[in-house]
Structures are given as C-alpha cells and as structure tokens.
Symmetry: C2
DNA sequence: AGCCGACATTAGGGCGGTCTAAATCTCCGG
DNA sequence: CCGGAGATTTAGACCGCCCTAATGTCGGCT
C-alpha cells in the first residue's frame, strides 16, 4: 500500500497521481457505473464503494486533476480515455484472477470474487501475462464476464436479461453477475451457470417468483436472483 | 489498502493495532534480524526497510503498545511471542507464494521474491491453505528457505555457510538467500541451487574469489555470492 | 574524567484517505 | 417565480505513515 507496486508497467507516465489501490477502486466503480451509459454521480460512487460523498468529491478532484476523469453535469463524471484504459486494466486483472483461482486452485464460484477484489491491485504485469497464458488466454471469467484484452476494444454488456424471456423459451445462460455472493452460492447448487440452458415456465411477477426447469429439475428463482442472470434466448415459444 | 484485508482469520483478537501491510513488513524485518540471535536496532530495521530511523521509532512505539514487540536495551527490540506468531505467518505466506509462483506459473528463481513480497500481504487464509495443499505441503521454498508450519516450532537457520568449507570439500547446497536478485540470476546460470553438490577448490580471500567445481564446470564465486550460499559439508578433505 | 561520535528520540510537517457537520447548489413542483 | 428537498461541496478533524531538523542518550577513547 504505501509504496505503490512498482512491478506494474504503466505505459502512460503523464499522470501526477499515484495509481494507488484506492484510486483503482474508484476507477473500477466509475467504470462499472458508466458502462451502462449514464455518467456516475458522486453519491452513486460513494454507495458502491461504501464511503461518504465528501470522500468521493475529494478523490474525484484529484482524479480530474490528473486526467483520469472528466466532469460532465453537476456532480457527475465520466472516465477519460486515459482513465478507461486503467479501469479496463483493473477489470482485466480481476477477471483473470477469478478465472485462475477457480480453475487452478478450485476456489468456488461465490468466493472467487472477494479474493480477486484484493489481489487485483497487486498483480504485476509479469504475473498477469503468465496467468493469461497458463489459462490459454480466456475471454470470459467463471461468471461469464468478458475479460478485457490487453489492448483493443471491449464490450461490457451484450447479453439480454433472463427476465425478458417468456414461458416456453429456452434460455442459454451466458453470464451471472457476481454482485451477490449468497445468490451465487444458491445458483451453484441449482447448477445454473454460464453455458447451461434453462427452460422458462413462468415469468416473474411482483408477487410470485420465476419458475424454470434446469437439468430436469423444476425450481423457482427470486426476482433478485433472476436479475443477475443474462444470456441469449435460444428458441422462443412466445409468438405474441 | 486503507481497509485491512478482512479475509485473513486472526486467532488472537487482543491487539489494538491494525495489521497493515506496513506493520507486517516491520514484523518480517524484525523477525529476520532477530533470527540471528541479536535484538534488532532501530537503524537496522530502518536500513532493511529503506525508511528513516524516526519512522521506525514511531512504528516501534505503536507495535510495543499493542504487544507485538518488546524493548530490551536502548533502542533495541525483540518480538514478543504474539509478534513472532504473526511474523512467522507473513514469512509462511511469502515462502508458500514463492514456491507456488515458481512451480505453477514458472516464475524464475530470481523474480519470485519481489512478486511474493507484495502478494504476501494480501493472501487470505483460504488461499494460503489451498496453495499449501496444491503444492503437497512443502517445507522449503525454491531458495531452500524453510516454510514455517501453520502451528508449531520453526527453525530458521540450521545450515552452515559455504565460506566455512575448505579445498577438497564436497558441499551440498541447501539454501541460497534471496536478498540479491542479480546474484541469484548469476547462480541460476551456474546451476547452483538447493540440492546440488559443489566441490571446493580454493577458499575465498580478501583479494581473490572462491573457486569451485559444479557439474564438471569450474567457476569463480565472488565473496558477495558465496555468503548467500548455505548447506552442509558432505565430505571434508581438510584434516588440518 | 570528560568529550565526542554514533545512535535514538522528539518536534513538526506533509500526503493520502477517511469521517462528520455545516454550507451551498440544482432542480422541480407548486 | 420562489421555496424546499435532495444532492454536492466545503470546512475541519483524525489516522497511518513518511520525511527533515533538532535534541537526547549512550559508550568508547584520550
């Protein structure tokens, strides 16, 4: 911490700010929020990082001064290209680590995230590349999240949510958001993970859960869980 | 970093101080210095950590207040049992990581140290155990340094230095201190590593290097390099 | 015995990051 | 058009860790 890891080779040396763990966390948070299109608000970043808004304001100031972030409307920011490059780098390290820990050490699906969360800040470029190669240059992590390539374009959200499918649809799971560890453990027990197909029986409503069939088993999915699941509708039964 | 990694399970909860990365570094430094018998001096710790003596004084104060360290003579400290437990834990994580990175990822001998140096502070107990098991519970790292067990006694220095051997001796290398990355790379090229035997031709003097044979090749070793090599004299030729 | 050099400590300041409390700004609805 | 709710920012403080400069303390040497 104090000393920033000198093992990472940063191409652009033009920034005054240290790329501390904290800055990387802010970068990642803003990346996640803005990847849905909207600029990030102070309070949004604060909530995601569990800090108070004044802390965010102060940090955003420094990040703006060093060109990582640009303010748009009042209290809202977007990543600059420079900031986005670094943000993608953090996300790449995070997802490579998740894949590595899962495949090599057998860390379970729902535990992998919190481990990667702390290691991502301390992975040297050397280890990053070694891990990438050892895994055969994967393009998705265990949750199906796309792993940004070291250089080049990156598409964060391409899948359609499970909630958009209707009864009779065959839905191919491609991605399960790892924001909720408990839900993830639940889904692991149900064998719902990227690559499996599920058959929709009933859409979720405000009152009732969604019902699906997966691997012959019939099960219900709470709304919170359904929203984590994204993928592609393989065959649609609904003609309406 | 700010937030200390909550993933590590600390048995003794009786300490007021946070076990930050920095504290772990101090612990490790004091452990290394005092493992040779002598208490650690302020300036000694300062030199090892590349920090100024006043910083060490301040930190030692806090560490003493939280029972990690006890002051003996003027400006000298020893680890308490409590502190030693934590120190061994850090060393254990460091050496497990070195072994893991070397064996699994193929990180070279001389590079493994600096990688472990930063990761050691962020390895959860869960990953520590997983790595330990994946490696088959090793008891030495790639340099031959003993890996402290999770509980139980630990002997840090048992080997005799190469410098103590005389002409004609067959010396079994058991350990090569990893304090000097350049020397380590040099030794790797010479195929001198734990497990290999070398034959001593001439002792080092103030002026001349040591001469040894290893794998049929005859080579010279500078004094700085010789001091890193420790092991056991297999057969002694010197009757004097 | 006394002095001097080496070492340790105090004093005081800085930076990164966090917080609370108070002030300010924006935007929307009446 | 103005006021109030809600979000943002400023103000001020704290902690961890580092630094430099000045001061204290020890032991050895003359």
């Amino acid at each position: 911490m104090g000393t920033p890891s000198t093992l990472r080779t940063e191409s652009s040396a033009c920034c005054r700010i240290e790329l501390t763990d904290t800055v990387e966390d802010y970068l990642k948070a803003i990346f996640a929020i803005t990847s849905l299109g909207e600029p990030a608000s102070t309070s949004g970043v604060a909530a995601r990082l569990s800090v108070t808004p004044p802390s965010v304001t102060a940090m955003l100031h420094r990040m703006r001064d060093s060109g990582l972030v640009a303010t748009t409307t009042w209290g809202h920011v977007l990543l600059t290209e420079h900031g986005a490059v670094h943000a993608r780098s953090v996300v790449r390290r995070h997802r490579l680590l998740e894949t590595f820990l899962h495949r090599v050490l057998g860390v379970s699906w729902d535990e992998v995230h919190e481990e990667a969360e702390v290691l991502e800040h301390h992975l040297s470029t050397r280890l990053e590349n070694l891990i990438d190669a050892a895994l055969g240059f994967p393009d998705r992590d265990p949750h199906g999240d796309p792993i940004p390539s070291v250089r080049g374009k990156h598409e964060e959200h391409g899948e359609t949510p499970l909630a958009q499918s209707g009864p009779g649809d065959i839905f191919l799971v491609q991605r399960v958001y790892d924001t909720d560890s408990i839900a993830l453990r639940h889904l692991a027990e149900l064998d719902i993970r990227p690559g499996v197909s599920i058959e929709v029986e009933r859409r979720p409503s405000d009152l009732a859960p969604m019902w699906v069939r997966v691997g012959g088993e019939r099960c219900s999915l709470s709304c919170a869980v359904v929203n984590l699941i994204h993928g592609r509708i393989e065959s649609s039964a609904a003609a309406s």
